[in-house]
């Protein structure tokens, strides 16, 4: 190497270094299961996040700095989530974290971020406790833009009991944190209607035979099955019903919209209904542009987003954070948190337009009036009620007085 090239190289690298200093990226941690049974939610969420980050960076970033995502696969395992949270805090030094699909992982991991004063935007995990885990601390850094179980459980019950008039229902829930917390919420919501489920059954992840559970529900005379579980086992329930020749409506948490439920259950899975914050239909210009660019960028099978809800909420979570960082004028945790609790300008998202989504005491962006009922039809999730579809272009705004949610209190 001649001396000249050496100097040129040194100059070039020096100028590169100053350039990168000028536009030091803002790191955002993204945590979710990108492999395994919950991966259709995790991957869709991550793709939604990527899409939002790309758009924001194209438009010049936030505070003149580009966003940079640090993606980590928690494999839906609590212990992996804990490691990742520590890595985010100590090694990557992220400004904020989005993600968490599995309630158990969220509850185990977010204490590290709470302690490090890093805001967390839960964009998929639905366990009621998630945002209330640190209610007794002076500052709570945990936010959420997903429909939590205390909204979903009463919606499921409302649909089954009030709208469709079933008197006898059975609950089938998996044995994880998610399933059992959801079962509690369902029982509470049923109690408010004065109804006791005729059967409450449990199943394990990876169970291949649901005969016993379904027969118990059938013998008890259940007219509908309420479910809380994830895709593969929900599919086994639908397959088990086909086998027994006993077909009653399945109504359950939003996971009934997962691609691995729809695909694995096949024709037996049709007709299942679940609360959804977003249905893949271009009902507003924002939703249309989101769907078009999602399909163009990631090209999912049959033009169907694996988990449209996760993708939309993942996308929105980044815009919410970006707005807060912009308003705070800083990436320091406490300032971003304060900005989130008092967002001045509304954020136009895919799910809704977030105007004042959070306050000091309310960290839930989604209220009971926002989700609609989706139904599995010809291997896709569509609006269950034509009325909802007709009115879909009217964006449903957050309403803190919306009825239907259970009250949540932190367990002592």
């Amino acid at each position: 190497m001649t001396r000249f090239t050496k100097i040129a190289l040194a100059l070039a690298s020096a100028s590169l270094a100053t350039l990168s200093l000028a536009a030091d990226p803002i790191k955002i941690g993204v945590d979710g299961p990108f492999t395994g049974g919950s991966s259709s939610m995790g991957v869709s969420m991550r793709d939604g996040v990527r899409l939002a980050v790309e758009e924001i960076n194209k438009a010049g970033g936030v505070l003149g700095r580009p966003l940079q995502v640090v993606e980590r696969d928690d494999e839906a395992k609590n212990e992996r989530g804990v490691q990742i949270a520590q890595e985010f805090v100590n090694k990557e030094k992220v400004a904020a974290v989005v993600g968490y699909i599995n309630t158990g992982v969220a509850l185990a991991s977010q204490r590290f971020l709470q302690e490090a004063q890093i805001p967390v935007m839960n964009n998929v995990a639905t366990g009621s406790l998630v945002t209330h885990q640190f209610d007794d601390k002076p500052d709570n850094y945990i936010f959420r833009n997903a429909a939590h179980d205390s909204i979903q459980a009463p919606m499921i019950v409302e649909e089954a009991i009030a709208r469709r008039g079933f008197k006898k229902v059975a609950i089938l829930a998996d044995s994880t944190n998610y399933g059992q917390l959801g079962r509690q919420d369902l029982e509470k919501a049923l109690e408010l209607k004065g109804i006791k489920p005729v059967a409450v059954e449990k199943f394990n992840i990876k169970d291949v035979d649901m005969t016993a559970q379904l027969l118990k529900a059938k013998e008890a005379g259940a007219e509908a099955v309420l479910t809380y579980g994830i895709g593969p086992e929900l599919a086994q329930i639908a397959n088990g019903m086909t086998k027994l020749g006993w077909k009653v409506p399945m109504i359950g948490s939003w996971t009934l919209s997962m691609a691995n439920y729809i695909d694995n259950a096949g024709p037996g899975g049709e007709g299942a209904r679940m609360p959804q914050t977003f249905i893949q239909e271009p009902t507003t210009p924002k939703r249309q542009s989101f769907i078009v660019s999602y399909l163009k960028t990631f090209n999912p099978k049959n033009s169907r987003i694996d988990s449209p809800v996760s993708a939309a909420q993942g996308y929105d979570s980044i815009y919410l954070l970006a707005a807060a960082i912009k308003q705070a004028g800083s990436t320091e945790g406490p300032k971003v948190k304060a900005a989130l609790e008092d967002l001045k300008t509304p954020v136009e998202g895919v799910v809704t337009t977030y105007s004042k989504p959070f306050t000091k005491t309310d960290h839930e962006a989604i209220t009971a009036n926002i989700p609609v009922f989706g139904e599995v039809k010809s291997q896709r999730v569509v609006y269950a009620y034509p009325d909802d579809q007709k009115k879909a272009s009217e964006v449903r705004l957050k309403d803190v007085n919306a009825k239907g949610a259970l009250t949540v209190s932190k367990k002592k």
Partner: protein, 291 residues
């Protein structure tokens, strides 16, 4: 009554799934006193290779022999790498570790090749249930039972009637004497591993349309099959079938009559009782170990 029939049908179908996997344990134990703890993973590999072939347009029935060949090859590899060195140095436990390790490696490879999602295996038979004595059965469940029985019968016939099978039995009875009689016992052991993984791979494609297919499908099934092998007796093909059916029916009936939260308990309690009362298993021959 109809309920009980239904529970028994499902129990038998579930039990036969366990039994076909457990049968593989019995095959290698019979020749080398060792077990392939990666049996569940051999099953998973068979199912995933089968799924790839079916998706590539190969007919389900044509795919089965190819998967069996693959399974045999995979079993031979496990024996050569994991078990033979341990047998050579007469290590009591080396093969346990190495077969578990190989199982984990296979699982990780599968995760990288096929991803970790559960996939749907298209059913070769109609998916509508058939009415039989007042209860419903899926055609695929009948196929699992028939296929498993046919496979076990074929292997038993081979062992009892053919000259090669006699070599297998001789190796089981007395490895050193068999060696002195001119039987290549090393080859026989390799063969038994190949045969055991072949049955696992076959079991994989047989049950895949009923369960879901994915890199983690083998773990739970392999463990349950192990319990079946212990209950039935590791030296008896008949015992494996009976053990499987007992465990399967115990699971479905407990789930219905007691609680679905406890459905795995009776099978495991049975396992403990069998170990305490008849350590060789319900149908196993009590082996006298000469020291």
């Amino acid at each position: 009554m109809q309920i009980l029939t239904q529970l028994i049908y499902s129990g038998i179908a579930l039990g036969m799934i366990y039994a076909v996997i457990a049968f593989g344990y019995q095959l290698t134990f019979a020749t080398s006193d060792t077990l392939n703890f990666g049996q569940g993973d051999a099953l998973m590999l068979g199912a995933l290779v089968g799924l790839t072939l079916v998706n590539a347009g190969v007919n389900y029935w044509l795919m089965i022999p190819i998967v069996c060949l693959f399974g045999a090859f995979q079993g031979a590899v496990v024996e050569r790498i994991g078990v033979r060195p341990a047998i050579k140095i007469k290590s009591e436990f080396g093969w346990i570790m190495s077969t578990i390790a190989l199982g984990i490696i296979f699982k990780n490879v599968a995760e990288n090749v096929w991803g970790r999602d559960d996939l749907r295996f298209p059913s070769p038979l109609p998916e509508a249930p058939i009415k039989l004595l007042g209860a419903n059965v899926l055609p695929m469940e009948i196929l699992v039972v028939v296929g498993a029985l046919a496979m076990m019968l074929a292997v038993e016939l081979f062992n009892r009637r053919s000259i090669y099978g006699k070599a297998v039995v001789a190796t089981f009875n007395d490895r050193d004497a068999a060696k002195l009689m001119g039987i290549n016992t090393g080859l026989v052991i390799t063969f038994s591993y190949a045969l055991s993984s072949l049955t696992a791979a076959f079991a994989g494609v047989l049950i895949a349309p009923l369960t879901l297919t994915g890199a983690t499908m083998g773990a739970v099934l392999g463990l349950k099959a192990f319990a079946v092998a212990i209950i039935g007796g590791l030296t008896s093909g008949m015992g494996i079938i009976v053990g499987g059916i007992i465990l399967g029916i115990a699971e479905t009936t407990t789930g219905f009559y007691i609680s679905t939260g406890y459905k795995d308990v009776p099978g495991l309690v049975l396992l403990l009782i069998v170990l305490a009362v008849r350590p060789a298993g319900l149908f196993g021959k009590t082996a006298i170990k000469k020291v």
